[in-house]
């Protein structure tokens, strides 16, 4: 890592003021992603602004419907409030990474971690995202890349948590900028709207917490290459509103398939009014998830995984209902 100074922020205001000058400073929460980028020589900030030293308890508080930005993935996974109000969020946090990572990685940092594209993460490839002229994934090794989106960059969004939060209509609370809130659905942009970064936050804007709508009947399913720990190949998060045994309305989101956490309105619409035991109708609705997909050379397998992941997430949600 390059040498840097560490500003031990006392308050969110202090952190925000220090992080406004992006040429100099970058915010650090758990530091999991930042240290990774710095060790690879991808990021070389001269000053880290430490959010961990801000002692405001609100930043770490978890309650039904709101998660402090500095709450760790482990805190979220074991929170009774989250498990009851939105099982999809707790399960999603529990399924990410390893115990060592979950104990340190924060909610805010998880949302804003940089993509895992191996060309991006390798200092030697000066790809489009880093200011170069080529996306190496187009003709290269693209089995873990996106199946949706026009490019020109084909990353999949790396945050597990973002997918579950999107399914629960998550909204981030912000400090230090013009806006007080921003829906998760508007937190990220597609690469054709700016290729160098993924989030729509302005310099100095700090996420203080994330609110979500209660989704007691919600579920999650992730497909990984190895079961111990791995990044998702494809994941699905669903939040259902039931009318007896029928789906009154559904939120359906997918991860690891597109450069942003991916909403699936066609599936949501098709699920409306479907009975939980109408297997044919459920499958037909899930099959709509791949409409408009444009797989790359090596990742068409994701089009087989996605409808299955959604079907199983629905089953998981229905199971959460039974458990109540």
């Amino acid at each position: 890592m390059n040498p840097f100074a560490l500003l031990q922020a006392d308050s969110v205001a202090e952190a925000s003021a220090a992080a406004k000058d992006v040429r100099l400073s970058v915010l650090k929460a758990g530091g999991m992603d930042l240290l990774d980028l710095m060790k690879e020589g991808i990021a070389e900030p001269t000053q880290l602004v430490n959010l961990r030293t801000v002692r405001d308890p609100a930043l770490r508080t978890i309650e039904a419907g709101r998660i402090g930005a500095l709450a760790t993935l482990a805190d979220i996974a074991r929170s009774d409030a989250v498990r009851a109000s939105a099982p999809v969020i707790a399960k999603c946090a529990a399924s990410a990474a390893t115990p060592q990572v979950r104990n340190v990685a924060t909610a805010g940092g998880n949302l804003l971690q940089r993509p895992r594209c191996w060309y991006f993460r390798n200092e030697q490839f000066n790809c489009l995202k880093k200011g170069g002229s080529t996306c190496y994934a187009v003709d290269g090794e693209n089995r873990y890349h996106a199946v949706f989106g026009p490019g020109p960059c084909h990353i999949v969004h790396p945050s597990n948590l973002a997918v579950a939060l999107l399914a629960c209509d998550g909204v981030v609370s912000l400090a230090g900028g013009e806006r007080a809130t921003l829906p998760i659905a508007k937190l990220f942009h597609m690469p054709d709207r700016g290729i160098r970064d993924e989030s729509n936050l302005e310099p100095g804007e700090v996420i203080t917490s994330i609110a979500y709508s209660p989704a007691p009947v919600s579920g999650f399913f992730v497909v990984k290459e190895r079961q111990s720990f791995d990044w998702p190949l494809t994941m699905a998060a669903v939040a259902l509103k039931l009318d007896g045994r029928r789906i009154a309305s559904a939120r359906v989101c997918a991860g690891a398939v597109a450069p942003v956490p991916w909403s699936l309105p066609l599936v949501e619409k098709a699920l409306q009014g479907v009975a939980l035991d109408d297997e044919a109708a459920l499958r037909a609705a899930c099959a709509k998830s791949i409409d408009g997909a444009e797989p790359m050379r090596d990742n068409a397998y994701k089009l087989k995984l996605l409808p299955v992941a959604i079907r199983r997430a629905i089953a998981d949600a229905a199971g959460a209902k039974e458990g109540q």
Partner: protein, 244 residues
């Protein structure tokens, strides 16, 4: 092992067109002589200060001036609480907890393997929670209780989980072992009688390239006073001199 998204594929090139990638303008190297309060006082001068945590400590020692506390980039003196003892050292902010342990303090029990948070070889406990010390800044550990593999045995008496590792031959080359034992320790602290599923999950961040997992699982079962299933390895002292 099947290729995974963690593997360093594609191979690194060594072309002359190598350009250090910089995400957006965030990482552009800024001026070194940044406008900041230079912080020269000794940190962690007293045990009381150490107990208050990094920032409180920094505040106690800081010159009375307005503006945020900025440490480094030059080395600063810090006190870390390791295995119950306050230990002083001097390090720059870019020092990881693992490097502080191994290089500054010659505590080489915690191993550096991947240096990216993905193998568990460097696992230590911070306030009882399992962390990868290679991915934590040493300065973030100031004011917290750090437990390393060196802190488990009481004199010549091994911790029960260490004892069980010996009895069940829960290692081959032994390189993953300190981290693996710390992960077991964290698991048992949080879940005194873990199920096999909980054991697998609790140890999922620790990679053993020798594949001693089943013996490790047996050791955890024994250390938590649970029956070891018959298809699991038997204790080493019941075998005919061979490892499992």
């Amino acid at each position: 092992m099947t290729p995974s998204q963690h593997d360093p594929v594609p191979p690194r090139t060594h072309g002359s067109d190598a350009v250090p990638g910089t995400p957006a303008d965030r990482s552009a190297v800024g001026p070194r002589g940044v406008s900041r309060r230079s912080f020269i006082s000794t940190l962690g001068a007293s045990g009381a200060a150490a107990a208050l945590g990094g920032q409180a400590e920094a505040r106690l020692a800081a010159p009375i001036e307005d503006g945020p506390v900025v440490l480094g980039p030059e080395p600063v003196e810090v006190a870390l609480t390791i295995n119950g003892r306050a230990v002083k050292t001097k390090l720059d902010p870019a020092t990881t907890l693992l490097d502080a342990l191994r290089l500054n303090l010659q505590m080489t029990g915690s191993k550096e393997v991947c240096d990216r948070g993905s193998c568990g070889g460097c696992s230590v406990l911070v306030d009882g929670r399992l962390v990868a010390s290679c991915m934590m800044l040493a300065l973030d550990a100031v004011g917290h209780d750090i437990t390393t593999i060196e802190g488990l045995a009481q004199g010549d008496t091994l911790d029960p989980i260490q004892e069980a590792f010996v009895r069940y031959d829960a290692f081959q080359c032994g390189f993953c072992t300190p981290g693996m034992i710390m992960a077991c320790k964290a698991l048992l602290n949080e879940t005194p009688k873990p199920t096999m599923e909980q054991i697998r999950k609790g140890l999922s961040g620790n990679i053993c390239r020798c594949g001693a997992y089943t013996n490790v699982f047996s050791a955890v079962l024994e250390a938590s006073d649970q029956a070891v299933p018959v298809d699991q390895p038997v204790p080493a002292d019941h075998t005919d001199g061979g490892g499992a």
